[in-house]
């Protein structure tokens, strides 16, 4: 028998058999490698993005295919440990899938529509928030109106530069406060700059209006100084737009513009000033 084996191994037939075996091994190896490469390639080309925002007491989950390989969404993993089974139709490029859940979704499992054995578990991106008021330029203007004895002031405000309809007024009177000042505080939700008008009157002939936004202030006196600005720096310069003095009383109107997120201290003081009318 040994000569038969030797014949097979060393003859041309043996050579052909060896080549066939070698080719089969190489071919098989290459085929296995091709299967592996195909799997990895399909996995790499899966480009899903999952995002979630809180919505209506639950969560709003959105999944988009940012790549070109279609995939289906199979499962949603929730924070409580449970799993939500979904079976979507294949999502192609830029197609979305939405789902509302009661629990926070933390991961989703997607599988290639080309080869369902190629799957990937991806995390769900969380959310951020932006203050809507700050985007719209909305802020609070907090005003304190302090009025000395014998004075009377009405502070009116209106939003400018928009059709938001924010307006109002507050009146503070200390005519009969028996030596004590009177004050009111008011907070206005302002959708932009506020035009503030201060109307004041007293039975004497002088009114000083001090407007202090934050740590700065501008003191206004119609008589005799006019407006002067505190050395620490002005941020608001009120304008005297009207005054009228009768025999016993004077009326003044001042105007300032306040930006949102400022605090104003408006002090209307009375001063007995004789000899000037």
């Amino acid at each position: 028998m040994s000569w038969v084996i030797e014949e097979v191994i060393t003859s041309t037939m043996g050579f052909i058999i060896a080549m066939v075996i070698l080719s089969a091994v190489i071919g098989g190896g290459l085929y296995g490698y091709w299967l592996y490469v195909n799997h990895i390639t399909l996995e790499n080309e899966l480009m899903p993005i999952a995002e979630v925002v809180p919505y209506q007491g639950g969560y709003y989950l959105a999944i988009v295919n940012t790549g070109y390989e279609p995939f289906t969404v199979r499962q949603v993993y929730l924070k409580g440990g449970s799993t939500l089974s979904v079976n979507t139709k294949p999502l192609t490029h830029n197609q979305w899938f939405f789902e509302q859940t009661n629990q926070l979704p933390i991961a989703v499992r997607v599988c290639s529509a080309i080869d369902p054995r190629v799957c990937e578990i991806i995390p769900v991106h969380g959310w951020s928030v932006v203050d809507a008021d700050s985007l719209l330029g909305i802020g609070w203007v907090n005003m304190t109106v302090l009025v000395d004895w014998w004075c009377h002031a009405t502070v009116s405000w209106a939003a400018i530069g928009g059709d938001y309809g924010t307006s109002g007024s507050v009146t503070v009177s200390a005519y009969n406060s028996f030596g004590e000042p009177a004050y009111e505080t008011v907070s206005v939700r302002a959708p932009g700059p506020l035009l503030i008008t201060i109307d004041s009157s007293n039975i004497y002939n002088e009114v000083t209006v001090t407007v202090a936004p934050g740590k700065y202030f501008c003191s206004l006196q119609y008589i005799p100084q006019g407006c002067y600005i505190h050395p620490t720096g002005p941020s608001i310069t009120p304008l005297l737009i009207y005054h009228n003095c009768g025999v016993y009383t004077c009326s003044f109107e001042w105007m300032i513009i306040a930006e949102p997120n400022t605090a104003l201290f408006i002090h209307v003081s009375c001063y007995v000033h004789t000899g000037v009318g």
């Binding site: 080549m19 490469v37 790499n44 925002v53 940012t66 991106h125 951020s128 928030v129 985007l135």
Partner: protein, 107 residues
């Protein structure tokens, strides 16, 4: 020993040539097969990089809030969730909620 059982020089040369040919074919085939995988790996890396910086900017115009994504994509932010580029966003009243590929994982 007969001449039938001895390998000739001609056979050895053919054997060597075939082995070399098979080896070259195997290498070329392996490289050719690998190419899509290599390319997809680069694709995935650049995708992950671009998604890592994908975010939204917000602005207001005429009392309405708009969201701006990349590549000039923008949309008005409504009070129900909507998509802007690869982000989702909605106006919840006091706050604008949004989630983008650059956001940290939830949970």
């Amino acid at each position: 020993m007969t001449t039938r059982t001895r390998r000739t020089r001609g056979q050895s040369s053919v054997f060597t040539a075939v082995i070399m040919a098979l080896a070259i074919i195997a290498i070329i085939a392996a490289v050719a097969i690998s190419w899509p995988m290599v390319k997809s790996s680069f694709d995935k890396n650049s995708w992950a990089g671009s998604m890592g910086t994908y975010k939204l900017d917000f602005g207001a115009k005429g009392g309405e809030i708009y969201a701006y994504a990349q590549n000039g994509v923008s949309a008005e932010v409504n009070n129900t969730p909507g998509t802007v580029g690869y982000c989702i966003t909605y106006n919840g009243g006091d706050y604008i909620y949004y989630s983008c590929p650059s956001n940290q994982p939830a949970g």
